[in-house]
Symmetry: C2
Subunit: 264 residues, 2 copies
């Protein structure tokens, strides 16, 4: 399935919506072999650790991305809506000091890395992440600063496709991994509530504000860019920890893997 | 070999120089399996095309990186020296309109992609490059804007290690590939003249200006960052075009490779 781009005339609301969904059909990272292995229970613990460790950098960067977007909004009403995303990730207080529903996504992700036996200080230090993870995630933060507000909002629309992958992940983890429990799965369960609300707003904003063919093309490209950076993160994980398993110098080495030595 | 970082006291000039070289010993991309395959004549034409196509984005971005560095320099004398790097890449006129020695590095790189049978318009469009290439290269341009001038200069010191890889590449290409000739190798031969001059200046600048232990640590980290972004580019090429050969959706597909189809 190829993604059609509007030419001279803007697409109708329905056709534009379809073109946005077509991006996900074609290249959302649920199609990536790494996710198939992850959800199918085919990964060793160390490989799941590497995924959770690297993905943590994405989690901590999302509020920076959303605050960058907010810093470009003129309308207080719009900022009030978008702020919810930051609060969802940051939470209203640390674990144990607020009621369970108000714990943030970053803390919930740390429960996952806890459950996988990773040290919190090590995870937070970001020392072991793949450089490619950093480059891809930072590209997202830079993108929303360097492009129009409309494109920045459009880049968030991968959340259209997220609930399906979260449901698949929860089911796959429960079925296949000993570390799956209420604590380690808490991030994904919470996102099932949050993502649809976020994306309803984001999609309506994009459909309302992309009025010209050029703006529609920009939105489709922005969404494609976002799928590319999600995909690139899995490519890097797959390369380092699955096949051929070449961990770059300095990156996390799981206990159950022997790293290739790069020597002269 | 691990890279030692200075603690409280700054390292001596010699020890600091050694610490910078140790970064290259440990993780310069000449150690990457992809380069071993490339220089050893083990790659098919399509794989070499993919490398040259992706590396073209690095080539066209280097002047943007150097101009970003220059935009942060207060000293006209320093800017005059650094400008030579931009002129080396941009050249003093297009191919055929200036004497051979004044043709720029970007044009010379296009002679390589010409020799590999890639269409110039396609190469210049950047349409087929791996997203990971874009993220890694853009990270370099952002780095020199976001860090101190000293760190920006230090990040250029991978040129300490470049002449060896260029010599190895020229010899390996001449021995192993039918496309090797004066035109396709012209970029690398020219860099053998230019890089030592550039790096003599850069190294002296870093040694003279990194006076505290903290500044020395920053310089070593900056050089490490640079080796990481070079390495990440080869990781992405290796993953997409060598092993396991998973080309991300939308990226260049060589004629002699059948892409994996990511379908639902």
């Amino acid at each position: 399935m190829t993604t059609s781009l509007p030419q001279d005339e803007p697409l109708s609301r329905d056709a534009f919506t379809e073109a946005l969904f077509a991006v996900g059909e074609r290249q959302y990272h649920d199609l990536h072999p790494f996710h198939k292995l992850l959800h199918g229970g085919k990964l060793a613990k160390g490989q799941v650790q590497a995924w959770a460790l690297n993905r943590f950098y994405y989690q901590v960067s999302i509020p920076r991305k959303d605050l960058t977007i907010m810093s470009r909004m003129d309308d207080p009403a719009l900022r009030r809506v978008w702020l919810q995303r930051v609060l969802d990730h940051d939470g209203l207080g640390p674990d144990g000091q607020v009621e369970e529903g108000r714990v943030g996504g970053i803390e919930r992700w740390l429960r996952l890395t806890d459950g996988l036996g990773l040290d919190r200080d090590y995870v937070r230090s970001l020392e072991g992440i793949l450089p490619a993870t950093r480059f891809a995630v930072d590209a997202y933060v830079h993108f929303v600063l360097d492009h129009t507000l409309l494109e920045a909002v459009a880049s968030s629309l991968t959340e259209l496709f997220a609930p399906a992958i979260h449901r698949e992940r929860i089911a796959g983890f429960e079925q296949n991994y000993a570390f799956a429990n209420d604590s380690t799965l808490s991030y994904f369960r919470k996102r099932l509530e949050e993502a649809p609300r976020d994306v309803d707003f984001g999609l309506a904003y994009v459909l309302d504000n992309a009025r010209t063919a050029e703006q529609q093309r920009q939105c489709i490209r922005a969404l494609r860019f976002k799928t590319e950076l999600l995909w690139a993160q899995l490519d890097a994980l797959h390369h380092a920890y699955v096949s051929p398993g070449l961990i770059p110098p300095g990156a996390f080495v799981p206990d159950d893997m022997t790293p290739t030595r790069y020597t002269r």
